[in-house]
């Protein structure tokens, strides 16, 4: 069965301060939805509403046809997982112990993880190419490595919906690619992935749907190529930009270059 998210007239406000209002869109797995918008527009608030960490002010969030507020927490989080922004989280434990915690909801509160649980951790570490780090302390790892460990902790829960807050922030080129390729693989496995990003070029390359939040037009939602246009980028970020194509001989890639501030 496909996983679906439908958002109807969703609004969120802190007291009188409206963060966003009347959002409407619908997505179904397999999809990568990227959320774009300037700093402070409410991207993080929006994904926190999706995660059930913030209570929406009005409107509906229907997950597989059922309103998010009608789910038992345990049920909802059995198929939704969350990855925090890179560098915003630390762990005092080793890599294996950190990833094991992802299985906590499946382990009897009074028992320790079994050998089969540890095998699961090894499998996921192998998939993400970080098996060699297994006995290291997370606090001793680089930002990119640590982010992959937290990704492993989210993935070990086998979520159908994965929500990531700026997953490739604070990472170098290589680690960005590692993270984005992982997102790509998950989509190929039929998952629904939602991620915030400050890089329209990542959205362009890795997502098929885009939600663009903006002060002047509220929001735009649609297929990536329809939303990430020169005009929308310029209006959203208040900059001048060019969107061009680069070819390595076989494939043509689209790229965006920000030029100047309006």
């Amino acid at each position: 069965m496909n996983t679906s998210i439908k958002v109807n007239n969703l609004s969120f406000a802190y007291g009188k301060h409206i963060v966003f209002e009347n959002l409407n869109f619908e997505i179904e797995s397999p999809t990568v939805l990227s959320i774009l918008g300037p700093n402070g527009i409410g991207k993080t608030t929006f994904i926190k509403c999706l995660l059930g960490l913030r209570k929406k002010t009005s409107g509906e969030i229907l997950i597989n046809g059922k309103d998010i507020d009608d789910y038992e927490k345990k049920e909802y989080y059995s198929f939704v997982a969350y990855l925090k922004q890179g560098g915003k989280e630390t762990s005092i434990y080793t890599v294996v112990d950190t990833v094991l915690l992802g299985l906590a909801s499946k382990i009897n509160p009074l028992l320790k993880p079994k050998d089969s649980d540890i095998e699961k951790v090894y499998t996921i570490l192998n998939e993400l190419n970080i098996y060699h780090l297994k006995d290291k302390y997370v606090s001793k790892l680089s930002g990119g490595e640590a982010q992959m460990v937290f990704m492993a902790r989210a993935l070990i829960r086998e979520p159908e919906i994965l929500i990531l807050d700026e997953p490739e922030s604070n990472l170098d080129y290589r680690n960005q690619l590692l993270m984005l390729d992982t997102i790509d693989r998950l989509k190929a496995k039929g998952k629904l992935i939602i991620f915030n990003t400050h890089y329209p070029e990542h959205a362009l390359r890795y997502s098929n749907k885009v939600l663009m939040l903006n002060k002047s037009f509220g929001y735009r939602f649609g297929n990536t190529t329809n939303i990430i246009t020169k005009e929308n980028i310029e209006e959203t970020y208040k900059i001048k930009a060019v969107i061009g194509e680069i070819s390595d001989g076989d494939t043509v890639y689209k790229d965006i270059i920000p030029l100047s501030i309006v």
Partner: protein
């Protein structure tokens, strides 16, 4: 093959953690103003006839005292460990969070009001819990500064210390004041069998609960939002663990008065030894805490003719360790 060796090592470590506190306790039974040879102690436990004076001393003085030291030695370090993980703060202990002062006040108040043993322990617990709540509310802010919680603990602690002074001030100078003062100094000397019969089961139950939850306790240090999206009732876990830790703190204090520093030294020593995973930290902290307390108490009562207050000894070891910890930061990763 590798796995088999792992299991063997785990069994050996578990055995070690059980046997070492027992050996320490039995050996320490022999020391004191009257030294009792080890074979006499062993004969006593085997039910054989030994010198009357020895058996009386063991049954009425030494054994209750060692049991008290074992209970407090398991409790305060474990409470320290829990508080550290709960607040993600390496400096959090029953002392620095003010829980010790709060519980002391509760106990002193109960003595003033003439409560029985159970009443004293219950009052100590109520005020201990009150302190941790006040400290928590004052100290946990969104600014993520780790020192705020300790500052809050010091402030709340000093508030309760002055309340304790007030209790002493109004207490009857002939009858009540001496017993309050004596109690506050901290000692295993005068803990009676009735006190032990009330305290031991409660402490053992709370420690057992924490022991069972030891793997889950790892979740306490996970980012708040992330842990909520893991489908775990983290609030319930936090409540259970903090209440259990406060109970064992309060009862230890109601039994033996304020024994400073052990809540800091022992958990951090164990972190250096076995790392940060609570599956291992909890049993190590209990076991090493017991050994530490029993040995310290034995030194306190047998080094000089007059007994040295326990807190003097723990401070002598604790303060330098504290300085070392702040300087090096090598142990805790919290």
């Amino acid at each position: 093959m590798e796995k088999k060796n792992g299991i063997k090592i785990n069994i050996l470590i578990s055995l070690f953690l059980i046997v070492i506190p027992i050996i320490t306790s039995v050996v320490c039974l022999g020391f004191g103003r009257l030294n009792i040879p080890l074979y006499d102690i062993i004969d006593f436990f085997r039910g054989k006839e030994i010198v009357k004076m020895h058996s009386l001393t063991l049954a009425n003085v030494r054994i209750p005292r060692i049991i008290s030291a074992v209970l407090v030695g398991a409790s305060l370090p474990l409470a320290g460990l829990i508080f550290q993980s709960f607040f993600s703060n390496p400096l959090a202990t029953p002392d620095t969070l003010g829980v010790a002062s709060g519980s002391s006040f509760g106990a002193a108040l109960a003595i003033l009001l003439g409560f029985n043993v159970f009443g004293i322990e219950a009052t100590a617990f109520v005020f201990g819990l009150l302190t941790i709540i006040i400290t928590g509310i004052t100290g946990i802010k969104r600014d993520e500064s780790k020192q705020t919680i300790i500052l809050a603990g010091i402030i709340v602690g000093s508030l309760f210390q002055s309340l304790t002074s007030l209790v002493k001030f109004v207490a009857d100078t002939d009858t009540v004041l001496p017993s309050i003062t004596f109690f506050l100094m901290g000692s295993f000397q005068s803990i009676g069998k009735e006190t032990l019969l009330v305290s031991a089961p409660i402490i053992i139950i709370c420690i057992f609960i924490i022991f069972l939850l030891r793997w889950r306790i790892n979740l306490l240090t996970v980012d708040d939002e992330v842990v909520k999206t893991m489908g775990i009732n983290i609030t319930l876990l936090r409540m259970v663990v903090i209440v259990a830790a406060t109970i064992i703190t309060a009862i230890s204090i109601a039994m033996a008065g304020q024994v400073g520093w052990v809540g800091l030294i022992v958990p951090h020593f164990c972190r250096m030894l076995v790392g940060e995973n609570h599956t291992r930290l909890v049993p190590f902290t209990i076991s090493i805490g017991i050994c530490f307390m029993v040995i310290i108490d034995t030194i306190a009562r047998s080094m000089f003719a007059a007994e040295i207050p326990i807190s003097v000894l723990t401070s002598l070891i604790g303060a330098p360790f504290f300085i070392y910890m702040i300087r090096s930061r090598s142990g805790a990763k919290l």
